[in-house]
Each structure stands twice: as structure tokens, then as C-alpha cells.
């Protein structure tokens, strides 16, 4: 398969967790094994826009037990004979090959996945200006080594914070940063702002006022509750992203007024 594959470098490798669970979008060709009406194909494809059940294929890297994955949309783009061009958005871990097979079974003629390209992985799209080939990476890195202009790095490397674009964020005070880097849970007094759409157990990204990623955490309450809280834990840490000691240790002396 070809397409969008975000590559994390050294310390940013810690954010892959956030990318694995992010949604994906694919463009592909499904080959029908018999003739079918376009209206029929369209209708069946729409029926799969739901939570679907899949057992991972024989050759896969995970345990083979049935799991559910949500298909956000399963768009019919065009059809030429028995070839159907489609665009599918789904949760990470959805097997498109299986999806095509199942669509073929329901249509009644059988089908298989002929070609597939990933057009989006979470926040990273193939339409972004930042989407680069290995040739681009090689070229820009050469330019960077020669000229040492920081602008060149931005041509092919993005800050790891871009990987967190789709995750709801909580921004905290400078004084709360180092405790979080040491794995402490986030408590209400440290919170400066909170994004909408957070529920208990939602994965959240904790950022500094400069927009630096500090940690990934699991929310302990909703956006509204976090907004109203004056004390208590609002999120439990899952993964620390920032190096300890980046901000001064002030947490022994309690919070700033």
C-alpha cells in the first residue's frame, strides 16, 4: 500500500499512540467478481457506514479476535465495469481488504480489494503542503546541512504537536509543567483553558502556554466539569512527552496565587 505514513523522529516517537487511534481515510479500487448495478453497489456501500465487526486476517500482526470498528463514511466515487473506485474513512485498525470482501458478499457477486492508498492518517493528509516523498526528505536534508537555515527544516519536518491536532487539549500554567513531566496527574488549579468535547476517559493532550506538548492523559471528567473545578484531579497521565527539567520545579512550594 502507498500513501500517508507519518514518521516520528526520536522523542516524537512517544506520540505514535495518539496517531494509532486516530481516524484514517483511504482511496481504493474494489474489483467485483460479477456484474452488478451501480445503484446496488452504492446502496450496499452505504450500509457499511456504521460500527462493523471484523476478525483480523490470518496474516496480521494482532490477536485474531472479532473487533468493532467504525466506518465514518464509505463513498462510492465511480465505477468502470467491475472496478469500483471508493473513498472510506474509518477508525484506525479497520481492514479495508475485509471491508471490500464483505461488501462483495452482500452485493452477492463477491469482490476483492484491488488497490489501496491511504489519503489521511489522523491530522496528516496527502493534500497537506507538508506531505513529502523520500526524495523530498533527502533533498531538503541536504539543503539544510549545507545552509543551516531553520526554515529549510520546516519544509519536511513538522513539530510533534501537529500529531495532536485532533485530540482535545488542556493548556496549563508554567508552574504545573514540571510536575506533569514527572508523571503527576493534572489537578484543577493548573488548568488555564480546556477544549469542548471532553468526556470522562477521553484521551487529551496537555500543552504549555507556548503550545508545547507536555503529556497525553485520560480525562477524569467532562469539559464543563473541568472548567468549573477548583480542586481535584482532572486528568490522569498516560504518556509524558516533554523532557523533565524543561520548566523549573516549583511544585513543592504549591501553586501560584
Amino acid at each position: 500500500m502507498t500513501g500517508v505514513l507519518p514518521i516520528t523522529i526520536e522523542d516524537s516517537t512517544k506520540i505514535v499512540q495518539a496517531l494509532l487511534y486516530s481516524g484514517k481515510e483511504y482511496i481504493g479500487v474494489m474489483k467485483l467478481h460479477g456484474d452488478a448495478e451501480e445503484t446496488r453497489v452504492r446502496k450496499v456501500m452505504t450500509e457499511f457506514e456504521d460500527a462493523i465487526f471484523q476478525r483480523p486476517p490470518l496474516r496480521s500482526s494482532v490477536k485474531r479476535q472479532i473487533r468493532t470498528r467504525r466506518v465514518f463514511y464509505n463513498e462510492f466515487l465511480e465505477m468502470n465495469g467491475r472496478n469500483v473506485l471508493f473513498k472510506t474513512a474509518c477508525e484506525g485498525g479497520t481492514y479495508i481488504r475485509k471491508l471490500c470482501y464483505d461488501i462483495g458478499e452482500i452485493i452477492g457477486v463477491g469482490a476483492h480489494m484491488q488497490e489501496l492508498r491511504r489519503s489521511r492518517s489522523g491530522p496528516y493528509s496527502e493534500n497537506d503542503k507538508t506531505h513529502v516523498t523520500l526524495h523530498d526528505v533527502s533533498y531538503w536534508f541536504g539543503e539544510w546541512q549545507e545552509k543551516k537555515d531553520p526554515k529549510i527544516l520546516k519544509e519536511f519536518i513538522q513539530p510533534m504537536e501537529t500529531a495532536l491536532a485532533l485530540i482535545p487539549k488542556i493548556v496549563v500554567r508554567d508552574s504545573a509543567v514540571d510536575a506533569l513531566c514527572h508523571g503527576a496527574n493534572l489537578t484543577a488549579p493548573g488548568v488555564l483553558s480546556v477544549e469542548t468535547g471532553i468526556a470522562k476517559d477521553t484521551m487529551v493532550a496537555i500543552l504549555s502556554l507556548k503550545g508545547e506538548a507536555i503529556a497525553l492523559a485520560k480525562a477524569q471528567s467532562s469539559t464543563e466539569q473541568i472548567f468549573d473545578a477548583n480542586h481535584g484531579t482532572v486528568a490522569t497521565l498516560e504518556r509524558v512527552l516533554m523532557t523533565r527539567g524543561t520548566y523549573p520545579k516549583v511544585w513543592k512550594s504549591g501553586r501560584k496565587e
Binding site: 500500500m1 513529502v132 533527502s138 520546516k154 519536511f156
Partner: protein
């Protein structure tokens, strides 16, 4: 079945609870990190070529870093 909104179409709003300032002595705005740090905390939105090429080994070799990861295999 109804089409559900994919994560990249969800709009979020920021609710500001309190104001504070940040000390410029500590940390960096992500876009202003010193080069070495910028690379170390970087992600490449790579267009993976066809075939079972070792893009990871390639990327490592190209940008001379120790450790490379990826956001999930491209398993169909």
C-alpha cells in the same frame, strides 16, 4: 445508516478558565525550537512509496538519526 463525522471534521472551541503568562526563559514555541531539538521532536508526513521498501531505514539514513517510528503499519 447515517454518515458519522470523522475526527478531522469535529470542531472544538477553547474555553478559557484563567489567564497567565509564560516565562520565555523556559521551553520553546514548537516552531522556534533550536534545530537539533526541532528534529528530535519532529514528525514527517511521509508519502510512502509502493512496495515493501524499508522507509524507516531510508529515513534514518537520510536524516542521520538513531530512532524512527511510524504511525501504524500500512496493513490493508
Amino acid at each position: 445508516m447515517p454518515r458519522t463525522v470523522p475526527p478531522w471534521e469535529i470542531k472544538r472551541e477553547i474555553q478559557v478558565k484563567a489567564e497567565d503568562h509564560t516565562n520565555s526563559k523556559y521551553g520553546h514555541f514548537p516552531a522556534e525550537r533550536p534545530a537539533e531539538e526541532y528534529i528530535r521532536y519532529g514528525v514527517i508526513n511521509l508519502n510512502k512509496p509502493a512496495g515493501p521498501t524499508s522507509h524507516e531505514a531510508w529515513t534514518k539514513r537520510i536524516i542521520h538519526v538513531e530512532c524512527i517510528g511510524h504511525g501504524g503499519t500500512l496493513e490493508a
